[in-house]
Symmetry: C2
């Protein structure tokens, strides 16, 4: 039902980034509140290339809360959305817009319904933490429209209840999710370790394996690990606390060697815990033989390539990290290293069609730095000398690459023309 | 140099089995003495199908110690062979054979040289613990000829110094290698938990991936894990001790459910520790793309198949375990289950050529139990119903299957015609 004629529609639009953990979150100590078994640390990715945009509209004419994701209506009845909505409504404040003649008292928010439209500027199914960006944006934008004054730490704690890692998307740069100790989860919040300008040499290249696959929920996998992996508790209680301290130091000191070693080791340990789970967690369910092999081969090849390259240089050039999804995330020390890395990656994973510029999204200028101006340059790439395996190529295993920098946290989109909801109808534009 | 005319050649021949760990050995606390970081438990495999046979010859005419493996002379100068030779010579006793007119005093053994010929009745390179069988046989047969009277525990401790897991091949049935506490390693010995008749329902099926690959030494991998994996110490100190107790109980009580769960969990945890190693340990070096994929796919498919089958039956039917080599070892509760398992395995991994009987070695009668009398029966096999992945087949990924039972420990081969060395020349037969 659209807004009734003559009634106001109040709107706010926000944009939130996605993030990639360098010290991994795996395992909850409380499923309902989403409280983790260990701290985690992430880098926030540039929202220009990977982000969620969300418009929240409020109108006395809306009979119920509704939500649309990428243009399709989805149910808001899930516990996670409801937790975030409830927690933001609890903190809502008086709001007045004299020009529009809108005056909402704190207690009115309980009765007012919202329409929420959200959109990811990257494929939802690509396994790029779309739920982290989406839930952070949901909470951030709801908070803006409801005039919530709580600090970002408290917002992060609410986003956490929507999707654990969403709490880290509340800030830009380097972010730590402190597991907290309290049973009510109020101290399980994210804090910013450093903003995106602190260490702006880093360049991230993501190999997206396939956008055809559903982003599998990590909830059941985490639960299985907590219940069956003897190594998980040791990791959470003993290994991660010391790694978090070292990672904080590495970030503070721009110490890429430590940063890379910790990132790679923690990615591998996270997958070790998945393997130590009973039954072991693989990328196996309902996928094709070709896909399973492509994912494993990509992982093995990229890990081997990075380890051998780092070893041959004597000091780490690149860090790799793999989430529960299939994509490889590579963090290069600087732009020059990223360009060299791209040459090695494109040697093994050339594009299936000849259009190089659609094969690398994000900061396409890295192609020029890598000396790759056309597909001919890719075809002429030499085999990475540090690799001793046969120099076979794997066309089609990678859907596309993303080149991206660290980025800022959530922002209000002030330009009202960017809103995803029509200010008159109160429904998503284009519906 | 052959035995000089008129001089005697004394010979002994022994045969030793190979073994498969169900609680894994991974990591040494002392590299020189080969002292492990945790206890391990293995099953000994039937030597009729997998074993090493070794003939040791002694003659005053031999100017030096020499050894031949599968007909090719190899160097005996390595520290491991030398340790075993030294330890056995130390314990040598007076020997007399009136008929042959041979009289060797304890102190003479130091001056007498040996010729050793060893032969595996399976491909050395197949990753089937040939070094465990070989070193156990080396020590056992040397001990026999030198009239060593020490008990099997002490023999196992000597075999351990040749190849860690060789100490477990000194017994049949179920064997535990106690890590020991002493710095000199004298209490790091194997003990028999139960002989091969104790639980004789078990049937083992091994999928041999390829016999073209070299058996890679696990020494450097273990060292890397000990030095870099934070999870290894926790596994060794906390997880394994409790698993060993539970495994001993399971074996004692013929409790297949516990046996299978512990076996699978420990195989997966061993591989988790390999992944937690920096750089992570994969089957990657100097192998082809096809081989790497075949090994990973075999592992993923077989683990998934067994986990899903066990889950669908409500109670474990089969346990899987993977060593550092590429082969899959499957332990079935009984012959009926093994036959069902074989049908599932042959559905996915049919033989490349049409000769079924050379595709299954060992106890070929299992083919009849599985209703597989010809290649047509294999081609007509239905897809395993518990698997939801596409029912693709992977011809050529498995070289052959072995069907085998538990077996006895080392034995003297009394039939002198079976000796590998010519009693006149003192050199390997056929040389």
């Amino acid at each position: 039902m659209a807004a009734a004629e003559g009634q106001w529609v109040l709107m706010a639009t926000g944009r939130s980034p996605t993030n990639i953990a360098v010290i991994k979150y795996w395992g909850k100590r409380d499923e309902a509140l989403i409280l983790p078994v260990n701290d985690s640390i992430s880098v926030t990715l540039d929202p220009d290339h990977l982000s969620a945009t969300t418009t929240v509209a409020v109108s006395p004419s809306f009979p119920s809360d509704r939500m649309w994701l990428n243009g399709k209506e989805i149910s808001l009845s899930g516990g996670r959305f409801q937790s975030c909505l409830r927690e933001i409504r609890k903190r809502a404040r008086d709001f007045e817009d004299e020009k529009k003649g809108i005056n909402i008292k704190r207690e009115d928010w309980e009765k007012l319904h919202v329409h929420i439209a959200s959109y990811n500027n990257f494929p939802t199914a690509a396994g790029l933490a779309s739920s982290a960006a989406g839930l952070a944006c949901f909470v951030f934008t709801l908070g803006k429209i409801m005039n919530v004054k709580e600090d970002y730490g408290e917002l992060s704690s609410i986003a956490r209840q929507g999707s654990g890692s969403a709490c880290r998307s509340i800030y830009g740069g380097f972010v730590k999710w402190c597991m907290g100790k309290k049973d009510d989860g109020s101290d399980s919040i994210a804090v910013q370790l450093a903003d995106e300008t602190h260490w702006n040499d880093l360049v991230i290249i993501i190999a997206v394996v396939s956008s055809k696959q559903k982003e599998t929920s990590s909830t059941s996998g985490m639960r299985d690990s907590v219940e069956t992996s003897p190594l998980l508790q040791y990791r959470a209680q003993t290994v991660v606390p010391s790694r978090v301290l070292k990672m904080e130091e590495a970030i503070k000191n721009h110490d890429f060697e430590s940063f890379a070693k910790l990132t790679c080791a923690d990615s591998n340990q996270f997958h070790a815990v998945c393997l130590d789970t009973s039954p072991p967690i693989f990328y196996m369910n309902d996928t094709s033989h070709r896909y399973v092999l492509a994912v494993h081969w990509l992982g093995i090849l990229i890990i081997s390539l990075v380890e051998k390259w780092n070893h041959s240089e004597g000091t780490p050039q690149v860090a790799y990290t793999f989430d529960a999804g299939p994509n490889a995330v590579l963090i290069a020390q600087n732009r020059k290293t990223a360009a060299l890395l791209l040459r090695k990656l494109l040697y093994y994973f050339p594009p299936e069609d000849k259009d190089l510029s659609s094969y690398l999204v994000g900061d396409k200028s890295i192609l020029g730095d890598a000396g790759l101006h056309s597909i001919k340059d890719v075809e002429a790439l030499p085999a990475p000398p540090e690799m001793k395996i046969p120099d076979q190529k794997f066309m089609g295993d990678v859907s596309y690459f993303i080149c991206i920098r660290l980025g800022a946290g959530p922002k209000v989109v002030a330009d009202e023309s960017q809103a995803l909801i029509d200010a008159v109808t109160g429904l998503p534009k284009g519906l």
